[in-house]
Subunit: 219 residues, 4 copies
Amino acid sequence: MTGGIERVRKKREVHASVKDQKLIQRRRDEMIRGAVTLFKEKGFHRSTTREIAKAAGFSIGTLYEYIGQKEDVLYLVCDSIYDGVKEKLEEMNVNAGTIENLKLGIAHYFRVMDEMQDEVLVMYQEVKSLSKDALPYVLKKELEMVSMVEALIKSYMDHEHIDYRQQEVHILAQNIFVQGQMWAFRRWTLQKSYTLDEYIELQTNYLLSGIQMKAGDGK
Amino acid sequence: MTGGIERVRKKREVHASVKDQKLIQRRRDEMIRGAVTLFKEKGFHRSTTREIAKAAGFSIGTLYEYIGQKEDVLYLVCDSIYDGVKEKLEEMNVNAGTIENLKLGIAHYFRVMDEMQDEVLVMYQEVKSLSKDALPYVLKKELEMVSMVEALIKSYMDHEHIDYRQQEVHILAQNIFVQGQMWAFRRWTLQKSYTLDEYIELQTNYLLSGIQMKAGDGK
Amino acid sequence: MTGGIERVRKKREVHASVKDQKLIQRRRDEMIRGAVTLFKEKGFHRSTTREIAKAAGFSIGTLYEYIGQKEDVLYLVCDSIYDGVKEKLEEMNVNAGTIENLKLGIAHYFRVMDEMQDEVLVMYQEVKSLSKDALPYVLKKELEMVSMVEALIKSYMDHEHIDYRQQEVHILAQNIFVQGQMWAFRRWTLQKSYTLDEYIELQTNYLLSGIQMKAGDGK
Amino acid sequence: MTGGIERVRKKREVHASVKDQKLIQRRRDEMIRGAVTLFKEKGFHRSTTREIAKAAGFSIGTLYEYIGQKEDVLYLVCDSIYDGVKEKLEEMNVNAGTIENLKLGIAHYFRVMDEMQDEVLVMYQEVKSLSKDALPYVLKKELEMVSMVEALIKSYMDHEHIDYRQQEVHILAQNIFVQGQMWAFRRWTLQKSYTLDEYIELQTNYLLSGIQMKAGDGK
DNA sequence: TATGAATGAGCTTTCATTCAT
DNA sequence: AATGAATGAAAGCTCATTCAT
C-alpha cells in the first residue's frame, strides 16, 4: 500500500487552467485558508465545492481554474499544513545536543502543535480521504517530520555518548511525534485536565526518564 | 463540544420500525459485520446505503427497518467495536499488582489492538463523522477504556507503594492507550520496522523505565 | 473505425438498477417515446437528461434507474427505431420474384420511411453522436436492412434469370436504401415538390429502367 | 421551417468587434481551418470554444472578437465548405451537352466529394445543429448546388433533344447529389467494397441507363 | 416483516461568455 | 487588437430516504 513512498520525489501536480504562477500561488493560499476553516467545522466530505469557493472568496468557476477536482483542495490543504508545521519546527534550530536543548526542542514541538491544533486536527481527520494517488506525497512529509524529531534525540545522545539502538530512538521519535498530535486530536479530554505547560512538563519528564535510565545504564 | 459527556448514561437510541428485539439485534449484527468490511475499504462517506444493505445481506428497504438514518450505521459500528475491544480487554483480568501483571496487561492490550487493527482503524478514521449527537456516547466509551488502563497502573503502584500524582498516572494511561492505537493507525510505517513482539517490548521497556525511575525516587 | 462490426453479436448491454425485466422494457419504451419527440425538436445534445425524464413521464432519479448514462438513451432510441423499421419491413414478405413484387417491395419500403420519417430523421442526425462503443451495434443493424433490400432485388433477378454482378446489386440496394431515407432527411425540399406517390413512382421507374436495361442486355 | 429559403439573399451577418475587414477575413480563415479539423474529430457540440480558439491559433478572447457566439463558428464552417465545394465544381465548366461531357461532369462531382469527404462529413453531421436562424442560408447553398447538377443534365438532354419532365430531371439531380454525399457519409461501408473509380463507373452506368432508356423512348 | 422502485435535492464539474488589462 | 482570468448558469449524475406492495 505504501511501498511507493520512497520513490516519491516531486510534489504532486495539481491541474490549473490559469498560467500565471504567482496568481496560482495567491489564489491557492486563499483557497487553503478558507478550506481549513471549513473542514475544521464540517470535514472534507460534508463541505461542498461551492462552500469551498465561497470560503476562499471566489466563484465556483474560479475555483476550478486552480484545481482539477475537489480532492485537490484536500491535498493542497494537507500539503500546506505540513509545510507550515515543518517551517515552524525549523525556525528553532536546536542541535547543541545538551539536555536543555533536547527539552527546548520537545517543548517547541508541542507548542507548535498547540498553535496549529486546528490544522493538525483537520489533517488527521482527513488524510485518509486522500486517494491512493495523493497519499504517498503526504505520508512522505510526515516521515520527514518524524526524522526531525529523531535527529534531535540522536544529537543529544551522541553528545552525551549514550549508547542506543536505532530501533529505540526511532520508536521514541514516533512516540514524541504522536504525543504532540495527541494534544491536538485528544484535546477534548487532555485540555480539560492539563494546561499546555503542564502537559509539556509531564511528557518531557516522562520521556527523559526513559532516556536517562538508558544513560544510567550506558555509563 | 464535549461538555455533556459526563451526563451521558444510556445508549443512544437508534430508531427501528421492527418490534422484535431479538430480530433487531440479529439484523444489526449482520449490518455491522458487513459495514466494517465496507468502511475498512471505502470509508463511511464513500459507502452508500445500498452497499451497506447488500454487504449485510438484505435489501435497502430492510436496512431502513432497523435504522433511522445512514449515520446510525456508523454509530452502531463504532459502538460495537468499542464493546468488542472492551470485552477482549476484560477477558484478561489482571489486578494482582505485580510488575509481571502490569507487563502482561500492557502486552495484552497491544495484542488486542493488533487483532482488531482493522476495526480500530475504521473507528479512528470515522468517529469524526459522527454527529454532535452521537459523539458523546462514543467518547464516553473511550474514556472508560483509558480508565481501565489507568486502573491497571494504579493497581501496580499501590501494590508497590509507589507515590504518584493522579495527573501523572492519567497521562501515562493516555500514552499507553494512544500507543496501542498507534500500532493500528500508523501501521504503514511501524509495521515495516517492527514485529508486534518487538513493538511490545520496546514500548513496555520504555513505559516501565518511566515508572520505575519514579519507583526508585519514591523509595 | 468500423472493423469490429462483423464481430458484434449480442445487443449492447445498457445498465439498469431495476431488476424486473418487464418493468425495464415498459419504462424504456416510455423513455424512447418521449426522447424521440424531444430529439426531433432539439436534437440529442440540446436535450437535457431532466427533459428526457420529464418527456418520459418520470423523475430524473427514475431515469437513471434504467440507464447508465445519457448516451444510453440515444442508443436505445436508435436501436428501437431500427427494430421498428425492420419489423415494418418484414410485415410485407415479398419473395415471389415478379416485377410486381419488386415494385411493391420498393414502394412498401418508401412508405415505411414516410410513416417513420421523424424517427428516421432523428436517427440520421444523431447516430454520429454515439460513442465508438455503441456505434457498431447500430451500423450492424443498418447493414442488415440493406441486405433485406438486396435480397429483394436478387429474388427478382434470379426469377427473371437476369445475369448480374454482386457489386451492381449491392450498389443498387444502397441506392434504394438511401433514397428512402432521402425522402425523410431531405423532406424540406423533396416534399415541397412531390407527393409520396409521385416520389415512389419516379424513383421506381428510374430504378427499374436501370435494372431492365440490364435485363434487355442479359437476354 | 424552410419556408423562408427563397427570400434569403445576403450572407448571414456574423458579429465582429474588430473593424479591419481584411483582418476579419484572415482570422476567420484560421478559425475555420482549425474548427474543421476539430469538428471532424469530436463534432461541434463536443468541441469547446477554448479548443476552437486554440486550434485556430489564438486566445479565447480573440475568438470572440471575430464571432458573436459559438454557433457562428459552425455557420462559418458550413458556409465555407459549401463555397469550397462550389468553387471546385465550377472549376470544370462542362456545358457542351455531349454524353461525354455529362459523364465527365458526374465523375468530377464524385471526385470532388471524395477529395472533400472530411468536410462533407462534418457539414452533414452538423448542419442540423445550426439554429433556425442560420439554417436557411446554408440550405439555399445546397439548392444552388443541386441546380448545378440539374443544369448539367438539362444541357445534355437539350443537346440530345430528349424529351423530359422537369420533375424527372429534378429528382435525378437530387439522386446524383445525394449519391455523391453518400460516398462520404457512408464511407464506412462503401469504401470497403469499392474503389472510387469503381463507384463512379457503377453509379454512372446506372444513372445513364435510366436517362438513355428515356432517350430511347423519346425518339 | 421484507422488498425495491421511485423520488428529487443536491452534488461535482464544465464551459460559453464577458471584460479589465 | 489581443489576452486570459473570472463568472455562474446549467449540465450529468448520485444517493439517502420513502412507501406501496
